[in-house]
C-alpha cells in the first residue's frame, strides 16, 4: 500500500496517522483515526485529547453527523468498500463545500487510479492506493483539463469560461 498526499507519494512509514480499532485504546500522543462509532460514544473524552484526531466513515455513514465537528478533525477518511460504491463522492463534497472541512480528506479502500480525477474533484487530497497505482497519480490528473460541472476543486466550468470569453470580447 502507498499513500498519495497532495500529489506526492508518501512512504508508509511517513504516514503519521494511526488507525485505532474500536477495542484498542486511543494513544495519547500520536495522531489517531477512530471509527464513527467510537467518536459517537467517546466524543467528549476524545475532544479533550491534545494530539490530532481523525475519523473514518463507512460509505453508508451519514456525513451530516459530524457536520458541526469537522473543525476538530485533522483527517477524515472515507471508505470505498468497492470502487463501484460512489457514496463517498457525495460525502466528500458535502464535507468540503457545505461543512467547510479544511483538513486531510483521505480515500481508503478500493481506490483505483481510474477514479483519481473524480475523487480529486470531489475534494479528496489523499489516497491510500496499491503501490502499482501510486505513480499514476499525476498522469491521471493530467489527463483531464476541462470540466463541465462545478465541484469541490473550484475549477471554472466550461460554461463559465465560455461566458467570460464572450464578456471579454
Amino acid at each position: 500500500m502507498a499513500l498519495v498526499r497532495d500529489g506526492q507519494v508518501v512512504q508508509g512509514a511517513q504516514d503519521e496517522w494511526v488507525r485505532v480499532g474500536d477495542a484498542e485504546p486511543v494513544p495519547d500522543n500520536t495522531p489517531a483515526v477512530v471509527t464513527l462509532a467510537r467518536w459517537r460514544e467517546e466524543r467528549s473524552r476524545l475532544l479533550r485529547r491534545e494530539a490530532p484526531l481523525g475519523v473514518q466513515l463507512a460509505s453508508g455513514d451519514d456525513v451530516a453527523e459530524i457536520a458541526d465537528d469537522v473543525a476538530r478533525f485533522g483527517l477524515i477518511a472515507l471508505e470505498f468498500p468497492a470502487f463501484t460504491d460512489g457514496r463517498a463522492y457525495s460525502s466528500a463534497r458535502l464535507l468540503r463545500e457545505r461543512y467547510g472541512f479544511m483538513g486531510e480528506l483521505r480515500a481508503v479502500g478500493n481506490v483505483l487510479r481510474d477514479q483519481f480525477a473524480f475523487m480529486h474533484r470531489c475534494g479528496f487530497d489523499a489516497f491510500e492506493v496499491r503501490d502499482a497505482d501510486a505513480d499514476a497519480w499525476s498522469e491521471a490528473l493530467a489527463e483531464v483539463r476541462v470540466w463541465y460541472q462545478p465541484a469541490a476543486d473550484r475549477h471554472f466550468t466550461a460554461m463559465r469560461l465560455r461566458h467570460r470569453r464572450v464578456a471579454a470580447e
Partner: protein, 551 residues
C-alpha cells in the same frame, strides 16, 4: 444542431486517449477482465454472448449527415456492415474487436461523437422528443435543455458510480413522444399560468422487473433552477439509493420505499443549499444554446402543397406512406418524415452501412443535413419540403426504407434478445420477424390502425414491453422459450403499465395469440376507436376469454 467548441472536443479527446491506455493495460494483462469491466462500461463497451458490443451515444437522437456517414464507415470497417439503433436513440455495433475500439472512438471524436456513459451506473444518454424543434405542437425546444443536461452529466465527478444506471428524458410538447413517465427523471417543458416556461419534474419511473410510473415531485421548476434541482435529485439518490440488491437499486425503488412525499422533502431540502449557486443556469446560457438549435432558413411556402396532394391522389403506395410516416411540421409547406427501420420480416432498428450512407445523402439533399433517431428505433428527416416528399419516397423505396408502417402493428420495438444478449432468457428478434410477416399486408395494418407491440427478451425490459399496447416478454421455462403477454401499456402522456393477460404462450403459439388479441379488438371496436381505446373501454376480459376460453 450543437457544435463542439475546443473544450467539448478536449473532453472527448482526453477520453479517447484514456481509454486507449486502459485497453492497452487490459491487452497486456495489467488489468483483469474484472477490473477492466467498469472502465469499458464507462465507454459503452459491453461483452455480449458472442462478442463485444459498442454503444455509441446519439445525444437526444440528433445526428448530422456527416455523423451518419461516419457510423456507416464504422459499420463497414470495424463491424459486419450494419448497426442497430436502440430505444435510447443510440446506435450499437455488435461485432467490434477489443483492440479496434480505441480507433473507433477516435474516429467518432473526429465527428464530435463518443460512447461516454452509454453504459454503467451513471447518467446515460439524455433522450428527447424526436420531433424537437419542428413539431407542430411544440412549446419549447427540449434539445436546448437536453444539451445542457448532457454537458452537466458528462464525467460528473460525484455521479459516475451511482447505485444503478440513470436515464433522463425531456419533452417540450403536450404530446409525449419520449416516454417521460418511464424514466428515472422526466422533464416536461410547458408554459404555466403566469406565462413562464419551466419544467414539470417527474421522478422514479422505470421498467425492468418492477415497472413504475414516475411521480411528479415538482409541478413547476423555473429554467434557471434546472441544474441545481437535478443535482439535488442525483445527490439524494447517490446517498440513499439502495446498493444491496441490483434489482432494487434504481431510483424508482427509493421513491417507492420512502414515499414520493419524503423523497420530495429530501430533494427540496438539498436543493435549498444548491439553488442560486454555481449551478444556476443563466439566461445567457439558454440563449447561447438556443442559437445552436435555430430553425434552418425555411422558405415561405403555401400550404396545402398542390404537387404533394396530387402525387398522393395518383399513387396509392405513396399515399399510404405519407399517411403513416409523415408528421405535421410547424412550418407551412414543410413536413417531418419517419423512415421505418421495420421492413417486413426484418430486424427492428437495424440499418446497413449502405442504407446509412443513403439516408445521409437524402438528408443533405432534402433535410438540411439533419437526421433524428427515435426511441421507437426508426429514423426521422425533420426539415422536408412537402414538394420534395414524393422524390424522397422514391429514393427511400430504392434502398428498402419506405415501409409505410410507422405506428402500426409491424412497427415493433424489440430488444436484441438471446440472439446477442448475455442477459436474455428468450429470443426477441425472431418473434418480431414472425409477427411482422403475419401482418405483412399493409391494408390489414391500416385497418388495424395505431398499435404498439413491444418485445423484451428478459425481465430487464429493454424492449419496453411494459408500455406496449401489446407487450411480449420472453422467458425461459424448463429449457423452453415462453412468452408472456401484457395488454394496455402505453408510453405517451397517458402512460400506463400493461397487465399480464394470463399464462404464457410457447414460441410457436405467441404469434397466434397476438393475432387473437387483434381479431378480438377488430370484432369489438366501435367507430373511430383505436386498439388502446377499445381495450380501455372493454377491459381485458373479452380478450382473456378469446385467448384462454371461458372459465
Amino acid at each position: 444542431m450543437y457544435i463542439y467548441d475546443e473544450m467539448d472536443q478536449a473532453i472527448v479527446d482526453q477520453r479517447v486517449k484514456q481509454f486507449r491506455g486502459q485497453v492497452a493495460r487490459r491487452l497486456n494483462g495489467e488489468l483483469t477482465e474484472e477490473e477492466f469491466r467498469p472502465l469499458r462500461l464507462m465507454n459503452g463497451l459491453y461483452l455480449q454472448l458472442h462478442a463485444y458490443m459498442l454503444r455509441v451515444a446519439v445525444p437526444y437522437g440528433v445526428l448530422s449527415s456527416t455523423q451518419m456517414r461516419k457510423l456507416a464507415h464504422i459499420a463497414r470497417r470495424y463491424d459486419k456492415g450494419y448497426g442497430h439503433f436502440t430505444t435510447r436513440q443510440n446506435i450499437q455495433f455488435n461485432w467490434p474487436k477489443l483492440e479496434d475500439t480505441p480507433d473507433i472512438l477516435a474516429e467518432l471524436s473526429d465527428v464530435q461523437m463518443h460512447a461516454i456513459q452509454t453504459s454503467g451506473n451513471c447518467i446515460r444518454n439524455v433522450t428527447a422528443d424526436q420531433y424537437a424543434g419542428v413539431a407542430a405542437d411544440e412549446i419549447e425546444d427540449p434539445r436546448i435543455y437536453s444539451e445542457i443536461i448532457r454537458q452537466w452529466s458528462t464525467l460528473h465527478p460525484e455521479f459516475s458510480f451511482l447505485p444503478r444506471k440513470f436515464k433522463f428524458a425531456v419533452t417540450g410538447a403536450p404530446h409525449d413522444r419520449a416516454a417521460l413517465r418511464v424514466h428515472d427523471v422526466g422533464l416536461r417543458l410547458y408554459e404555466n399560468e403566469a406565462g413562464e416556461i419551466g419544467f414539470e419534474v417527474m421522478v422514479g419511473g422505470g421498467q425492468g422487473r418492477t415497472p413504475m410510473l414516475a411521480k411528479t415531485i415538482r409541478p413547476f421548476l423555473a429554467r434557471r433552477d434546472l441544474l441545481s434541482y437535478v443535482e439535488a435529485i442525483m445527490r439524494v439518490y447517490n446517498r440513499f439509493g439502495r446498493r444491496d440488491n441490483k434489482y432494487k437499486a434504481r431510483i424508482k425503488i427509493l421513491v417507492h420505499e420512502i414515499g414520493a412525499e419524503e423523497f420530495t422533502r429530501l430533494v427540496e431540502e438539498e436543493w435549498e443549499h444548491l439553488r442560486g449557486g454555481e449551478l444556476d443556469l443563466p439566461l445567457a446560457e439558454v440563449q447561447r444554446m438556443r442559437r445552436f438549435f435555430r430553425p434552418p432558413g425555411y422558405e415561405d411556402l403555401d400550404d396545402p402543397v398542390t404537387w404533394y396532394e396530387l402525387k398522393k391522389a395518383e399513387n396509392v403506395n405513396f399515399s399510404r406512406w405519407a399517411a403513416a410516416n409523415v408528421a405535421a411540421h410547424k412550418q407551412p409547406g414543410y413536413a417531418i418524415a419517419n423512415i421505418s427501420l421495420k421492413p417486413i420480416g426484418g430486424v427492428p432498428g437495424d440499418a446497413t452501412a449502405e442504407q446509412m450512407d443513403a439516408v445521409a445523402d437524402l438528408a443533405d439533399r432534402y433535410s438540411v443535413g439533419e437526421i433524428r433517431v427515435t426511441h421507437e428505433q426508426n429514423l426521422v428527416l425533420p426539415h422536408l419540403k412537402k414538394a420534395d416528399l414524393f422524390d424522397l419516397w422514391r429514393a427511400l423505396e430504392a434502398i428498402d426504407l419506405a415501409t409505410p408502417n410507422v405506428g402500426f402493428v409491424t412497427d415493433i420495438i424489440a430488444c436484441p434478445g438471446l440472439d446477442y444478449c448475455a442477459l436474455a432468457t428468450a429470443r426477441s428478434i425472431p418473434v418480431a420477424q414472425r409477427l411482422s410477416e403475419r401482418f405483412a399486408d399493409i391494408e390489414r395494418q391500416r385497418d388495424i390502425g395505431p398499435l404498439r407491440i413491444k418485445i423484451s427478451g428478459c425481465i430487464n425490459a429493454c424492449g419496453h414491453h411494459h408500455v406496449g399496447h401489446i407487450g411480449i416478454l420472453g422467458l425461459e421455462k424448463r429449457g423452453e422459450e415462453s412468452y408472456q403477454v401484457t395488454l394496455g401499456g402505453r408510453a405517451d402522456e397517458n402512460a400506463a403499465i400493461g397487465k399480464i393477460v394470463g399464462p404464457a404462450f410457447t414460441a410457436d403459439g405467441i404469434v397466434d395469440a397476438v393475432e387473437t388479441v387483434i381479431d378480438t379488438y377488430l370484432d369489438l371496436r366501435e367507430e373511430g376507436e383505436e386498439f388502446i381505446d377499445t381495450l380501455e373501454r372493454t377491459g381485458h376480459d373479452p380478450f382473456k376469454e378469446r385467448l384462454y376460453g371461458a372459465r
